[in-house]
């Protein structure tokens, strides 16, 4: 197998230039998809027969929740790559993920509780998904706290990478145990739209939003990655050229 691409990705100048070139290719489609999804979700999709217009929160809640998990997984994968092959760029990518993921976790929690109020009659319900989301927020905060606590960048990279890997192994266990716990106490689980029967006019905007958020994450990651590479990099010759460009 040919792993040249892998090694080239490990080289900061190459990745920096690549990230710079790729950013618009993710950013513009993301903007278009999100706007189209917004139009479709707010205007075109019909009200839900049970939840009325309240269900439209799904078009921001579901993508935020998806982001929180996807970003954590990406972070853990990047961290593992950095840990195993000692690739600086991978650590830089993992470090870039955390603030993005944490902020979307907050968005998922807030939109979830705003959705909960009309549906459950209370802003907070110990529903397994919201609870898992809250735990995920703490995992993000722990990651960022550990990173901030260690001054030396390399050690911070490696220590937080290990934490991310340990965390991602734990996420399914936590989710399973929270679901199990919840099933014992028979809390209402309302945030369950009848998915298979969802009409296309409702589903398509949701898919557009999901894809749009994913592309947005890619664009944000690429910009942050460049910042991280610049602060980490010591060979200045290419930096001089990159900054001039």
């Amino acid at each position: 197998m040919n792993f040249t691409w892998f090694h080239r990705l490990g080289s900061p100048p190459y990745t920096y230039a690549l990230a710079r070139r790729l950013t618009p290719w993710f950013a513009w489609p993301a903007a278009l998809l999100i706007l189209a999804g917004l139009w479709g979700g707010l205007v075109l999709a019909p009200p839900d027969y049970q939840q009325g217009d309240g269900f439209r929160i799904i078009y921001v809640h579901a993508p935020s929740a998806w982001m929180s998990l996807m970003v954590y997984t990406s972070m853990a994968v990047a961290a593992a790559v950095g840990l195993i092959w000692r690739i600086k760029v991978a650590h830089a990518a993992a470090a870039s993920c955390a603030p993005i993921g944490a902020s979307f976790t907050v968005a998922a929690l807030v939109t979830g509780s705003l959705w909960g109020q009309p549906m459950w009659g209370t802003y907070w319900q110990w529903d397994p998904r919201l609870t898992s989301e809250l735990v995920l927020l703490f995992l993000y905060l722990g990651y960022m706290g550990l990173r901030a606590g260690i001054e030396d960048t390399q050690r911070a990279d490696r220590a937080s990478a290990l934490l991310a890997v340990v965390g991602v192994i734990n996420v399914p266990i936590i989710h399973y145990s929270v679901t199990w716990w919840n099933s014992l106490h028979q809390a209402p689980s309302v945030m369950r739209l009848a998915k298979p029967t969802m009409a296309a006019s409702m589903l398509v905007p949701l898919l557009m939003m999901l894809l749009g958020f994913t592309l947005l994450f890619a664009a944000l990651l690429l910009v942050r990655l460049r910042a991280e590479i610049l602060t980490r990099e010591r060979t200045s010759s290419w930096i001089r050229e990159a900054l001039r460009a």
């Binding site: 009325g52 929160i57 993508p63 939109t111 910009v223 942050r224 610049l230 010591r234």
Partner: protein, 54 residues
Amino acid sequence: MREFLDMGGYAAFVWPAYAVTFAVIGLNIFWARRALAHARRSALRRLESGNAPP
């Protein structure tokens, strides 16, 4: 239009949810760009001060 803004009586929940999410998106874009600008500035400073190794 008023009907649209009213969201079938759910306006108090739908609009804040959208506002929060798009605030998070906006903040993320702002933070990412600021981080890049900051990194560029400090890299330039390092280059000018001649502290950086060859």
